[in-house]
């Protein structure tokens, strides 16, 4: 078990440009996020969803000594966590969809998914798929969505992580939302 100060130090190192720190950081964050997610899921009925930003926040509070970290480091943490969180959620959703099929429940395709309001995990998959498509069209936009949607980063924080201006993030975020919105509701295309 890594103690919180280590994470804090790694974060500081990474934000100063130490790439190796990131390689050490990622597995730690991943492990902790998974643990937190598992805990949460055990507490809930199996078909309940996760609350990703709350999870990330929870993990952040657990891992990072807030007295030692300035907000830029915090932004970097959430930047990493966002990516990790996305993977965790998608994995979980896939497994869960498989379980459903195994249980003899009807198979839910992505397109049908939108007809099944009860399918909590499907939207994550839908979003992930759509994000994958967006990545191919415009990777920067996809990254912004990941940071904001899965990591809960503010515009400013996302701007800091990406090294661009907040106004760019704001513009791109709006563009990405419009793109995704259209992608997720193809029947809405004009």
């Amino acid at each position: 078990m890594v103690s919180p100060p280590d994470i804090t130090a790694l974060l500081s190192d990474w934000s100063r440009g130490d790439r190796a720190a990131l390689n050490l950081l990622l597995p730690l964050v991943y492990a902790e996020l998974r643990r937190a997610a598992a805990r949460q899921l055990r507490r809930e009925r199996a078909d309940h969803t996760l609350q990703p930003t709350a999870l990330v926040h929870e993990v952040y509070l657990r891992l990072v000594d807030q007295r030692e970290v300035d907000w830029q480091n915090r932004a970097h943490f959430f930047g990493v966590a966002a990516e990790v969180m996305r993977r965790i959620l998608v994995d979980h959703a896939r497994r869960h969809a498989a379980i459903k099929r195994g249980d003899g429940q009807r198979c839910v395709s992505i397109d049908e998914a939108k007809d099944v309001a009860a399918s909590d995990e499907i939207p994550i998959l839908v979003l992930d798929h759509a994000l994958g498509r967006l990545e191919r069209v415009d990777a920067a936009l996809a990254k912004i969505v990941e940071l904001r949607a899965f990591g809960g980063l503010t515009i400013e924080a996302a701007a800091h992580v990406l090294g661009v201006s907040p106004s760019t993030v704001k513009r791109d975020w709006r563009t990405a939302r419009a793109w995704l919105r259209r992608e997720l509701a193809p029947e809405a295309r004009l």
């Binding site: 949460q40 507490r43 809930e44 078909d47 309940h48 969803t49 996760l50 609350q51 990703p52 930003t53 709350a54 999870l55 926040h57 929870e58 939108k114 007809d115 099944v116 309001a117 009860a118 909590d120 939207p123 994550i124 839908v126 979003l127 191919r136 069209v137 415009d138 904001r148 949607a149 899965f150 809960g152 980063l153 503010t154 515009i155 400013e156 924080a157 513009r171 975020w173 709006r174 563009t175 939302r177 419009a178 793109w179 919105r181 259209r182 997720l184 509701a185 029947e187 809405a188 295309r189 004009l190």
Partner: protein
């Protein structure tokens, strides 16, 4: 779409999305050109942005992560789990026609829609599909909507009802038509409070007035047992005049019980409230009990109100944090940082905020009424109660104008802090409220003089109501403390009202005379003749009335209030031959007369002067100022009074020494935006002591917006394709039928525009101040003759219609001249004119060519004057004459029988014969271009056709028949229609129905207007 086109799509989208929705299409057309695919791509992005974009934008950035929580996205997509249609413009939902998307949230998409039954714009909130599929829920919702619809308060955006019907029309793109469940809501234009906060700090005074209105809204709703549950800046709109409208009252509750598709949240986020608030935006304004998922009562709104008030004052929501978890933790555990409040926040407001933001609701302020009272107390004693901390804001003079439009009743207190000069703070602070006359009695602001008067005792407002065609009296009297206005009897064309000093009489102008009538009614008494149109009148203590007119260089006139021949009081200086004396205001005790010295058509260079009645001399008091009024100081300071005057669209005040007739201080702005007219008239009036009433400038923009329609002989309408809705005057189709010239009113100016039927373009031909209208085409369709008052009087001008030339003045006369027709040989123009001091019109005929080439100079003017009048060899009583296509006859109208009838005379030997065409009233006649038919409007406004024979030895008129009886717009007495060259269709003006959502023309009454003003007395004043 290929990936390679994406950068272009993205760039265009990002550029377009910054533009107003209505401009985007044109922008894309311009940018994308022929690239249909590109344009559609961007448009589809814009459409989905419209659905979701505002969701993001109306939130303070600090809460972005909360809003954009993927859980919310999931819920939102669950919401839209059934394919949802994007409604495009033109789609109908019941009687509502979609105009444009406004935005969307989890509550459904919102559109601006046209209520085709009531002819008003509404906001249409189309409910999520899952809603409509649950009959129980829908029934409950319908009941709830009924309750909500009973909420009727000026600070609450109304819920009109629930529309249940399916969409029709071509724009539905969903996979299947759905049973559209749409909430019909009052459409409120204006920024949300969240937009306003994002723009920058809100001054203390403004924040307080906004908060007070929110409290009023909450009070009204809570009294009906309705709790909002989602008070937040994004749900509060600031409409015109600072009127606050709280949106979505009670809807949060209606939504709350929605089936959630088994979604839930992590343990620390339990409670549907959180989820709902998350969907709807942000939990930053949630009450602690809401955060805990407990039952809610009105006190939850009090908390949220406190949050909003706090945010207005500090720029930051008290519990806002980066994440939901942080925000909830702050709401439940942390105290807001009260040190963020501006230093000059009154103690009473600080106390109010603390009591609203009390986490234990048992200890929280328990009613919105108390919140409002606390605000009133703070307003009443700001200086005494404010914290005396040194801060930049404390010395700043903050004045806020707000008006609550409560069907004219709600009175919102006005705040004025003048902390740095406590000695000069008047004990009474200004209060303001708006009078919004009902549509039938709406304020009429046409013409060059003032349109309202305030009784010297401050109790009554008299204003001019209705349009030009309004029957009955245009002058309406309204008591300040009552809702209804009543017309003054028996004065059909009255304008420019003014009061007697004892508030018992109303003076006014009508038909070339100055008149008076008792405010209680009774006979109208004519006082004397007046030449020209009035430009101000004032009734002095000595029972005489001083007035001015637009007749140039005549100065001020005086007439006894008991009647008599007016006498000259002033004559403008010989040194300023062009100057005119206008807008007199008699000072108390007949000490002197304030008036304006101005050049006609150059109101910006006007000066306020005072005439000393003891010496007969006058002197300038303020330059660049117009229309002054004097008001006694009611604060009892014994320092004389105030001079109010208009300058650059504002109303300013200076201290004024009545004994010495001297200005004593620097000006202070009393009203930021005041309606002024091209004549220089400023639409305000004052009482003797403390009250003033004014018309905000928006009223001047209430141009009758009209559309152009072709109407065939069966009455079938077809809109003029591509023509926008504008403030059109009479249209005139060119002889070649290719173009149309038309006057358009915009921002107080009328100019001639040209419409090209083939190109569907509308371009301005003239661009001058004042009136430039009533175009007449020359026979070759190359030139336009029109009238313009650019020299102060309506004279005739000519300009080529190819947009390359400039206007050339072709007549110069002291008479107003209105062009109506051109003779067949193109040599003469037919017009009618109204001479000074005359109210009747005379048809005149001028040569069109020769004088136009003469140089313009002041010396030549006198010569021209006589030239034009001598040239007009033909002259007889009547107006609106047009020459028959073969040039042999003239059709015109004349009131000689007692009412307007249409007549025909031979031309040019007009005295040889006369035939009456209409019986029982007729106006606005014109010939068919084949010369075989005459058209006119009968008394009821129906279009009448009369077959005629103009080619034979004798004029013969057949039996008249009605073509259609639909009454179209009546812009003025002009023939407001034209006939197509083939005579089969008529180009008519159609009034766009009065838009109840548009800013109603209102008057704002301010009492104690000088309260709290900070008078900087200059050194020289000592």
């Amino acid at each position: 779409m290929t990936d390679s086109s994406w950068p272009r799509v993205k760039a265009l989208f990002q550029a377009a999305v910054e533009r107003p929705i209505e401009d985007r299409h044109a922008f894309l057309i311009a940018e994308a050109g022929d690239d249909e695919v590109l344009r559609r791509e961007v448009e589809s992005l814009l459409a989905s942005d419209a659905l979701e974009g505002s969701f993001l934008d109306r939130l303070p950035t600090a809460q972005g992560s909360v809003l954009d929580d993927p859980l919310a996205s999931q819920l939102a997509s669950a919401d839209r789990s059934v394919p949802h249609a994007v409604l495009t413009a033109g789609v109908r939902v019941g009687p509502y026609e979609i105009v444009a998307p406004l935005g969307a949230g989890a509550m459904g998409e919102v559109y601006r829609a046209r209520d085709t039954k009531l002819n008003r714009d509404v906001a249409l909130k189309v409910l999520p599909e899952r809603f409509a599929l649950d009959p129980d829920r829908l029934a409950r919702f319908a009941r709830e909507a009924q309750v909500l619809a009973t909420l009727n308060h000026p600070n609450i955006a109304a819920i009109y009802g629930l529309e249940q019907s399916s969409e029709q029309g071509p724009g539905v793109t969903g996979s299947a038509p759905r049973g559209g469940q749409a909430l019909v809501l009052e459409l409120v234009d204006g920024p949300t409070l969240s937009d306003r906060i994002a723009q920058g700090p809100i001054s203390l005074g403004e924040a307080i007035t906004i908060a007070r209105q929110i409290a009023e809204a909450l009070q009204a709703a809570h009294e009906k047992g309705i709790v909002h549950r989602d008070i937040k800046p994004a749900n509060i709109k600031i409409a015109s005049h600072g009127v606050v409208k709280v949106l979505d009252f009670g809807l949060a509750k209606v939504w709350e019980g929605a089936p959630h598709a088994n979604l839930s949240t992590s343990p620390n986020l339990t409670g549907t409230g959180v989820v709902e608030r998350t969907i709807m935006g942000t939990p930053a304004y949630m009450s602690p009990e809401q955060a805990r998922g407990q039952s809610l009562d009105s006190r939850t709104d009090i908390w949220s109100f406190g949050c909003v008030f706090f945010e207005m004052l500090t720029g930051r929501a008290p519990f806002a944090a980066d994440t939901i978890a942080d925000t909830l933790a702050a709401i439940l555990e942390r105290e807001p940082d009260h040190t963020m409040l501006p230093a000059d926040t009154p103690v009473l407001i600080r106390q109010l905020l603390r009591r609203c933001l009390e986490k234990d609701r048992e200890r929280r302020l328990d009613s919105a009424a108390r919140a409002r009272l606390a605000i009133d107390d703070a307003i009443a004693s700001p200086a005494a109660e404010s914290v005396a901390l040194p801060a930049p804001r404390s010395s700043r003079f903050i004045r806020v104008a707000i008006a609550a439009l409560a069907g004219g009743t709600a009175i919102a207190a006005l705040v004025a802090w003048a902390l740095s000069q406590p000695a000069l703070v008047a004990p009474m602070l200004p209060s303001r409220f708006a009078i919004v006359p009902p549509l039938a009695q709406r304020l009429n602001v046409s013409g060059g003089d003032r349109d309202l008067a305030l009784s010297p005792d401050g109790r009554l407002v008299v204003y001019r109501a209705g349009g030009t065609g309004t029957a009955g009296s245009p002058l309406h009297v309204r008591s300040i403390d009552q809702l209804d206005a009543r017309p003054l009897a028996n004065i059909g064309g009255a304008y420019a009202p003014f009061f007697s000093p004892d508030s018992r009489w109303i003076g006014f102008f009508e038909s070339g005379e100055i008149k008076k009538v008792l405010i209680t009614g009774g006979p109208v008494i004519t006082l004397g003749p007046v030449s020209g149109r009035s430009l101000g009148a004032s009734w002095g203590d000595d029972n005489s009335i001083v007035f001015a007119t637009d007749e140039r260089s005549t100065g001020l006139w005086r007439v006894s209030a008991d009647g008599g021949e007016p006498t000259r009081l002033t004559t403008p200086d010989g040194a300023q031959p062009q100057s005119d004396h206008q807008f007199p205001s008699v000072l108390p005790d007949h000490r002197g007369v304030l008036f304006t010295i101005a050049e006609p058509g150059n109101a910006d260079n006007a000066q306020v002067a005072v005439l000393d009645l003891t010496t007969g001399q006058w002197k300038t008091l303020v330059r660049g100022a117009n229309q002054a009024e004097y008001v006694n100081d009611a604060s009892g300071s014994g320092q004389g009074g105030y001079l109010l005057y208009a300058t650059a669209g504002t109303l300013r005040a200076v201290r004024f020494d009545l004994a010495r007739l001297e200005v004593q201080s620097d000006p202070v702005t009393v009203v930021e935006q005041l309606m002024t007219k091209p004549s220089g008239a400023a639409n305000y009036a004052v009482s003797r002591r403390t009250a003033l009433v004014y018309v905000p400038p928006e009223a001047g923009d209430q141009n009758p917006m009209r559309s152009l329609v072709w109407v065939d002989r069966n009455g079938r309408e077809e809109p003029l394709r591509g023509a926008p809705t504008r403030g059109y005057g009479p249209p005139r189709v060119s002889p070649d039928g290719k173009r149309m010239a038309i006057g358009i009113v915009d921002q107080g100016r009328t100019n001639v525009w040209i419409w090209d039927f083939a190109l569907e373009t509308l371009k301005p031909l003239t661009s001058a101040a004042g009136m430039n209208g009533l175009p007449v085409w020359t026979l070759d369709s190359q030139r336009i003759i029109f009238m313009s008052d650019r020299t102060g009087v309506l004279n005739l001008y000519s300009q080529t219609a190819d947009f390359t030339g400039t206007a050339v003045q072709i007549t110069t006369s002291a008479s107003s001249q209105w062009p109506t027709s051109i003779t067949r040989d193109g040599e003469w123009i037919v017009a009618f004119e109204r001479r000074p001091r005359m109210t009747s019109s005379e048809i005149v005929v001028f040569p069109l060519t020769s004088p136009a080439t003469r140089p313009q100079s002041d010396r030549a003017r006198g010569h021209w004057h006589s030239l034009a009048e001598s040239i007009a060899a033909i002259r007889f009583n009547g107006s609106w004459a047009t020459v028959s296509p073969n040039g042999r006859y003239l059709v015109y109208q004349s009131p000689e029988s007692g009412r307007n009838e249409v007549y025909v005379r031979p031309f040019p030997e007009v005295d040889r014969d006369r035939w009456q065409i209409s019986k029982g009233g007729g106006t606005r006649a014109v010939w068919a271009r084949n010369g075989l038919e005459l058209f006119y409007l009968d008394e009821s406004g129906a279009l009448i056709s009369v077959p005629v024979q103009t080619s034979g030895p004798r004029f013969v008129a057949g039996t008249s028949s009605m073509i259609f009886d639909t009454v179209y717009a009546e812009p003025n007495p002009a023939r407001h229609y034209d006939v197509s060259p083939d005579g089969r269709r008529f180009l008519m003006l159609k009034d766009r129905a009065a838009d109840p959502n548009a800013t109603p023309a209102s008057m704002v009454v301010v009492d104690h207007w000088f309260g709290g003003l900070h008078w900087r007395v200059p050194e020289r004043g000592k």
